[in-house]
């Protein structure tokens, strides 16, 4: 992998971290606000279904996590297991696709 690509991955991880910081804060604040006095699955779905704003928000959340986590794992695998090279990177691309796919499916399930 070229030094430029490695650097762009680093930039992507920092940028996605900034997005995640906002998303996690909004997500937690919403949970604390929404569950006051208890909440059922049906109530949640009643609020989320068809809400395009929240669907867009959680889509961004999922994509940021799918970018952020594999790049971090890449360093963890190198430093803790000494695993570097193409095989690791291909596995992490697959992991990113899996995270994005599962996350977007969940978004669809809650908001569609």
């Amino acid at each position: 992998m070229s030094r430029r690509t490695e650097t762009l991955l680093w930039v992507a991880q920092r940028a996605s971290a900034a997005v995640l910081a906002v998303c996690v804060t909004v997500h937690l604040a919403t949970i604390f606000y929404a569950v006051q006095g208890g909440l059922t699955g049906a109530e949640i779905l009643g609020r989320t279904r068809g809400n395009l704003g929240w669907a867009a928000f959680y889509t961004v959340f999922v994509l940021a996590a799918a970018v952020h986590a594999p790049i971090g794992l890449r360093v963890v695998l190198a430093e803790w297991l000494g695993w570097r090279g193409r095989a690791r990177d291909f596995l992490l691309i697959a992991f990113a696709v899996l995270l994005a796919g599962m996350g977007l499916q969940a978004v669809r399930g809650v908001f569609a």
């Binding site: 992998m1 030094r3 430029r4 650097t7 680093w10 920092r14 190198a78 430093e79």
Partner: protein, 238 residues
């Protein structure tokens, strides 16, 4: 001042072991004084390295009670309050023998980080005018007093986890040159300090900054390099 210090000193290579010596306690005694006493009075086979004895040359760094330190300016008072010392070679470097670490890899990494100044003027040209107040010069000044002792390199957990990592001293040197308007090798240097084995690998633990005997902050320099290489990568200049 009277009394005895109990001093455990690493003997041998990587498979060596600590051996204990008793050393008379003295006023204003440094750790280097202790090692020198052992070599001159107790065991002349002890190998260690020093030169200036006044904190300028950077050759006497060792691991003292678990932390890397320059021994010539580390007072026993400061590190051995219970009268005990454990002295070993610097971490993260191959051990040659006893307290002597092989520094080749450490300095080779300075070269890999493009730590050499490359001027563009000849002796026939005028001197370049650099304002001491300019931001770049102030960054360079803040990092320029490195004596190459290797303490930061031994303190760095990223070097321990990733032996290819250039380390704080080499990157600190590169940072001084990135801020040197006279230098003609900036694109090559930015490429050298970008990537997984260079500035981007720093986890900002700040052990280098904590341990640097010259009170420099390689962490700050590395953060500057990260910004510079990120900018260059986004502009397609890396």
């Amino acid at each position: 001042m009277t009394g005895l210090l109990k001093v455990r000193v690493w003997r041998g290579g990587v498979d060596g072991a600590f051996r204990e010596y008793e050393v008379p306690r003295r006023e204003s005694q440094t750790v280097l004084d202790v090692v020198t006493h052992i070599q001159r009075a107790l065991d002349p086979t002890l190998a260690y390295r020093y030169a200036c004895r006044v904190g300028m040359c950077g050759s006497c760094a060792m691991t003292v009670n678990g932390a890397p330190r320059w021994t010539c300016r580390t007072h026993v008072d400061k590190v051995a309050k219970d009268g005990r010392l454990a002295i070993g070679p610097l971490r993260n470097l191959p051990v040659i023998r006893d307290l002597v670490a092989d520094m080749r890899e450490f300095f080779d990494k300075w070269a890999r980080a493009q730590g050499q100044f490359k001027g563009r003027r000849t002796r026939a040209d005028d001197l370049e005018r650099i304002s001491p107040e300019s931001e770049a010069r102030r960054h360079a000044d803040a990092a320029i007093e490195c004596i190459g002792c290797g303490v930061c390199y031994a303190a760095c957990d990223v070097v321990a986890a990733n032996p290819g990592y250039l380390g704080p001293a080499a990157l600190n040197r590169a940072w001084t040159l990135v801020n040197d308007a006279r230098d003609a090798a900036q694109p090559e240097r930015l490429r050298a300090v970008a990537g997984d084995d260079a500035s981007l690998a720093c986890h900002t633990h700040m052990s280098c900054t904590e341990r640097c005997p010259k009170a420099l902050s390689p962490t700050a320099g590395i953060a500057g390099l990260k910004r510079a290489v990120a900018r260059a990568a986004l502009q397609g200049k890396l």
